[in-house]
């Protein structure tokens, strides 16, 4: 089964960038993209995605709220935060809310590789 990713980011540019980087290593990956976080929160639990990538600074609800809400509802699949908010305190907060990993924007190839490895992809 190809890996399935849910990409949540209100920036189309960022979604495209991340999707292309994942496809470099996992060409048969499939993607469900959300530009509106409320839709993501509603639909992600039913998607059976192998991983979720989640921007932080988005119109309501913001990424941290989506992360928190998903975890509170018992969503256990990997959620990687992908953000330009590089503050140490932000990373710590996301960890405390249950993120699987934190990837700084712009996304570096090494970070995508690390995420894929953690999902069991052999690179």
């Amino acid at each position: 089964m190809p890996l399935k990713f849910a990409i949540v980011d209100d920036s189309l540019f960022s979604r495209v960038q991340l999707r292309q980087k994942i496809q470099e290593w996992v060409p048969d990956a499939t993607f469900v993209e959300f530009g509106v976080s409320a839709q993501a929160l509603e639909q992600i639990p039913g998607l059976e995605a192998d991983a979720v990538t989640l921007d932080l600074v988005m119109p309501d609800p913001d990424g941290a709220s989506v992360l928190e809400a998903l975890r509170v509802r018992g969503y256990e699949r990997p959620i990687f935060i992908v953000s330009a908010d590089i503050q140490d305190s932000t990373k710590e907060r996301c960890r405390s809310l249950g993120c699987t990993g934190f990837i700084e924007k712009p996304v570096r190839v090494e970070c995508v590789q690390a995420m894929l490895k953690s999902l069991g992809v052999e690179l």
Binding site: S11, L12, V57, D85, I86, Q87, S89, P106
Partner: protein
């Protein structure tokens, strides 16, 4: 009060170092996005008070400026603005998207690319400031304006406003793009920031 603080070389040095690291992170980010080496000049710092706002136009030397604006709040409150001359913004959009961008085709994708670039550059500068000063800052959604000079001047004109202007030249291959990152604070907010700086020195 504030004017005296701004003359303090220790304060200016602190801002310069924060800007230096922040711009370095921003250049690395831009390089990553464009897939090209980005050379940067050492940033210069200027402090502009309300009554001196015209000096911003003198510094930028252009009336047509693309801006990305993002408010931040928390222990320090202000507005960060990335300003690019329109011609420079077009060149950057071309590089980010890997295709020629004409001024009359400054479409959704081009604006989206510049908006994200602004978000990342502002995150580099403000995030570094926050880390150095052990703060936590929240961000509003970034906004972009294709002709934002008026908006910048209006913000800088507010009573008591103090603007930290960080200027650096970004050279990507044979293209030079002058960028200005502005941090606009109200009088009390700027005093709070200065207190934070003093507390870590």
């Amino acid at each position: 009060m504030t004017d005296t603080s701004l003359m303090d070389p220790v304060i200016k040095d602190a801002f310069l170092e924060i800007a230096n690291i922040g711009i370095g992170k921003s250049a690395a980010s831009m390089s990553q996005l464009a897939g090209k080496h980005v050379a940067i000049t050492i940033p210069s710092i200027d402090f502009v008070r309300t009554g001196e706002r015209d000096s911003f136009q003198l510094m930028t030397g252009t009336s047509s400026t693309v801006i990305v604006e993002q408010r931040f709040h928390g222990e320090v409150v202000g507005t960060a603005i990335l300003c690019l001359a329109t011609s420079g913004a077009l060149k950057l959009a071309s590089m980010l998207l890997g295709e020629e961008v004409h001024q009359d085709a400054f479409g959704e994708m081009e604006q989206g690319a510049l908006l994200e670039l602004g978000n990342i550059m502002i995150g580099g500068l403000v995030g570094n400031m926050s880390n150095v000063l052990h703060l936590h800052i929240g961000y509003d959604i970034p906004e972009m304006q294709l002709n934002g000079t008026g908006k910048v001047l209006t913000l800088m004109q507010k009573e008591g406003a103090c603007t930290v202007v960080v200027n650096s030249n970004l050279a990507i291959e044979s293209t030079d793009v002058s960028s200005f990152l502005l941090l606009v604070f109200g009088e009390n907010e700027f005093e709070a920031l200065l207190d934070k700086i003093r507390s870590v020195m």
